[in-house]
Symmetry: C2
DNA sequence: CCAAAAGTGTTCATTCTACACCCATGG
DNA sequence: CCATGGGTGTAGAATGAACACTTTTGG
């Protein structure tokens, strides 16, 4: 092992005490929560799940769904739990965004929160979850009732930015669509998420050239124009290509 | 505001109790820490700062520098404090990677940690920090003494992957170089970070075409070949271009 | 003179962009 | 027949890859 340069470790700051000499109770005072930005897509519109809070603090405010993590619960599982409770679906596409840890972000105490974003096919999930007092709503992302509770405006904005980046670099868009979709639907999804128009011919060529879509022997029914072919996303093929250095772009 | 679909919020899981009815103490039991993956670049090699632990747990093991966050300390500031203590430099380029929150990742209790990666110009920072018992070492990233303490192998691997992604999509490479650098040095940096060779002519054309570098009226001295022009990165220009939709690639 | 790295130009292939055009369906 | 969106081809521009060549320095 190379060790060209050796420094000494210092703790010059006001807090300069090695933690193992500090009483346990002084540090183990944090609460930890998870906040989920659940995106869905319907009718050429990107939506997000918001709840209306029925309890203090921020009672009556709009907020992202979230919950405190239990001391014996992995945070990944806490996020899955919240999503399952909200949507009834357990295997959503889900990814961490960032951690938010300002001292005063939560009035009840020191609560650090991890943001997650998740993608749902709105058609597919069961809207009949029940049990908690307050309702959950799909809200158009251009119509968020700001300000949201806590620092949720910020958490939402960053999640959206991360989604917009991911959608160009990873094949996550398909998570928002039904199993079977047309290229036109896919294009509209991209246009809605990125606020940008694409040339139909070029969009098709690009997406088909990646070889990630399976052309089904099926077409649209009962449309008053030429029926479009249906495609499905081939996740296994993506994994295979990806391991060989392929990377999804646009 | 659109509210097409209304769900009920439920908490079906084993934990199904709204948190505001639960005793404060049950939730506020977490410790929170920050672990830093500090990258430096020297002699065409990418290095990372590791410490050797002088206290339990994992006494004697190699680890990433990190520390518990104080209950009255913002996590961003905790990361800055650690970096300042380690390197003597306060305004390093720094970014969050992920949160690690498995129940058993820390033997002393439930500690959740936020990963940060930081970039340092090795030449510039003061290596005479002092105060703590143990040494800090620059270690070649191909020569990490695994396993590291805790889940630090994992934290490091993910930070490296994130750096390798960032370097292609954001102008962060310059943070690892001195203020003034040659295009050859820049190319070697990219080659070291990405394990990939670039064609000299094409690399130059691409990077210069972005218009982010200021050509200085200065050249290398005392080299036994044709002296190269020195350049500096123009951050303001980048911000300006970026706000107009430009995006750094490769 | 030589070695070593800086720095530039050209060619050819690939990909991107814009746009025109035809096709299948319901009404 | 029309309107609507599906589906394809092509020309020209822009970009990228490969490679050859010239330049400037120290020794």
């Amino acid at each position: 092992m190379e060790e060209d340069i050796i420094l000494e470790y210092s703790t010059k700051s006001q807090y300069a005490v090695p933690y193992y000499e500090i009483p346990f109770e002084r540090f183990f005072q944090f609460g930890f929560s998870v906040d989920c930005v659940v995106f869905g897509y319907h009718d050429s519109r990107l939506k997000v799940l918001l709840i209306r809070r029925g309890a203090k603090p921020y009672e009556g405010s709009w907020a992202l769904p979230g919950d405190l993590v239990y001391p014996n619960e992995d945070i990944e599982l806490a996020a899955k739990r919240i999503l399952q409770d909200l949507t009834g679906v357990s295997n959503l596409y889900m990814e961490q965004t960032k951690v938010y840890g300002n001292v005063n972000r939560h009035p009840a105490g020191r609560v650090i929160t991890a943001g997650y974003y998740a993608l749902v096919d709105i058609e597919k999930h069961d809207p009949h979850a029940a049990g908690w007092a307050e309702g959950v709503y799909w809200v158009d992302i251009n119509d968020i009732p700001r300000p949201l509770a806590f620092d949720h405006d910020n958490i939402f904005d960053e999640a959206l930015a991360i989604l917009q980046h991911s959608i160009r670099h990873k094949p996550v868009g398909f998570e928002l669509l039904p199993e079977k979709f047309t290229l036109g639907e896919l294009q509209k999804l991209y246009e809605a998420l990125l606020n940008q128009e694409f040339d139909k011919a070029n969009f098709r060529k690009k997406i088909l050239a990646m070889n990630l879509l399976t052309e089904l022997k099926e077409v649209q029914k009962q449309v008053k124009h030429r029926p479009a072919k249906l495609y499905s996303f081939d996740l296994n093929r993506y994994k295979e290509l990806n391991s060989k250095g392929f990377s999804f772009e646009l």
